[in-house]
Amino acid sequence: MTSRNFVWWGIFTITGIWLQQLVPGVDFLIPGLLYALQERNIPQLAWILPAFVLIQEGLGSLDFGAVILWYLTAIFVFMVGHWIFQAENWLFILMVSALTAASHYMVISLMCSLQALSFDRSLLLHDSVIQAALIPFVWKLASVSRRKVRLHEDSA
């Protein structure tokens, strides 16, 4: 991995954490994970996934596990979608975003029930809807800004 690539992921992560501070209850890092899946770079995915999981689990208010389960669901949705559509297709991106956000609602509800926690369902639904609307834009922004890094990597 080139240092330029590493710096890009560092900036993406820091910006994501900052945006999460501004928009409560929403994940700005998952579009990066989906983009990493699109790139099919396994060594890159091998450090991005645990790093994102640790950040989100650490920042959250539930016991460890919810983010892992949600990210696994998102990866599964991505793989199934990729089996049917092309990864650059807008329909594919919208479908993955909607299903990922829906799975966010289900996974968090499930984990709260498992941990016997009462929570505000309408607030969670609100977060999931924002999440669904947000993923395609961050995904697109990430892919546009990433193009330069990839060009540099390919030429190297």
Binding site: I14, I17, Q21, G60, I108, Q131
Partner: protein, 292 residues
């Protein structure tokens, strides 16, 4: 990809997840790892961003945004002259007020210490369905789970999870919050519960014939062993008869403004106030001394 493989992989992943989840529920190792790494790293990022934002705001307000400063300066000079005249007139009143206040002042909660800290964000990330804030103190700097969190107005919540230098605190409005309280005037004990971010609090287990009134102050009773007694928490906003018969349905509004928290106060027990558990050797020595 082969459809069989596509189904087998998630099944294996789910099994692995269940194993890890169960193991973590017993040991809490992964929870503490996430708090010590993820929360700390994110906290460092958030603190740095807040520092940069404060610096930029200060530079802007002190040096760049100087429109109308001359007019404002003259107005302020006038106001200072007026205030100085008023201050001279009220010096005697103030001295009397201080004397009376010292007579009436209640002692601060015994064996408790107040620590200030910044609020870095609220409900950060997708794993935050509970109504929480992230604060800039951790177990190394005085914040441990169940530490009371306050504003200058009243109780805001309590610490839920703590990393080394960062913590997550549960606010009063979260549906999982329960605080043992007492009404200040009618001295009726109850349990104050949150019902959601934009909903009023519920004061539960208030007897049907209790003389509770709208506008009455609700303070902590100290019965939960978490909050010291007498901290203002909420004000009764509505009282009506409940369908359950034996109890009144009482709603309350938090005293602290929970929507605009920037700094909070943590109430920490002083170390010497904690009961230190005795070791078996100490117990034996004590028993022997008692026999003698």
């Amino acid at each position: 990809m082969n459809p069989k493989r596509l189904l087998l992989l998630p099944a294996l992943a789910l099994l692995l997840f269940l194993g890890i989840y169960t193991w973590n529920q017993r040991t809490e190792s992964l929870d503490s790892t996430a708090m010590n790494t993820g929360l700390e790293a994110s906290g460092a990022v958030l603190k740095s961003i807040q520092g940069v934002r404060t610096t930029i705001t200060e530079i802007w307000t002190r040096y760049l945004d100087l429109i109308g400063v001359r007019e404002e300066n003259e107005l302020l000079k006038k106001q200072i002259a007026e205030l100085q005249a008023r201050l001279t007139m009220t010096t005697e009143d103030r001295a009397e007020l201080l004397r009376l206040r010292s007579l009436l002042q209640l002692p601060p909660p015994e064996n408790w210490q107040a620590l200030g800290c910044r609020v870095l964000g609220r409900r950060i990330g997708p794993n935050s369905p509970l109504i929480t804030i992230t604060i800039g103190r951790g177990y190394l700097t005085g914040s441990t789970p169940e530490t009371p969190v306050m504003t200058t107005a009243g109780v805001a919540g309590m610490v839920l999870r703590a990393g080394p230098h960062m913590s997550t605190a549960l606010l009063l409005t979260d549906p999982g919050t329960r605080i043992a309280v007492i009404t200040q005037k009618s001295r009726i004990q109850g349990i104050l519960a949150g019902t959601g971010q934009f909903n009023p609090l519920e004061l539960n287990f208030i007897p049907y014939n209790a003389p509770i009134e709208s506008g009455e102050l609700v303070v902590t009773s100290g019965m939960d062993g978490i909050f010291p007694k007498g901290l203002p928490v909420a004000r009764v906003s509505a009282v009506s008869s409940s369908d359950l018969g034996a109890f009144l349905s009482v709603q309350a509004t938090p005293i602290a403004d929970l929507s605009t928290l920037e700094e909070v106060i943590l109430l920490v027990r002083k170390p010497d106030s904690l009961l230190t558990p005795s070791s078996p050797t100490d117990i034996r020595k004590d028993a022997a001394a008692e026999q003698k």
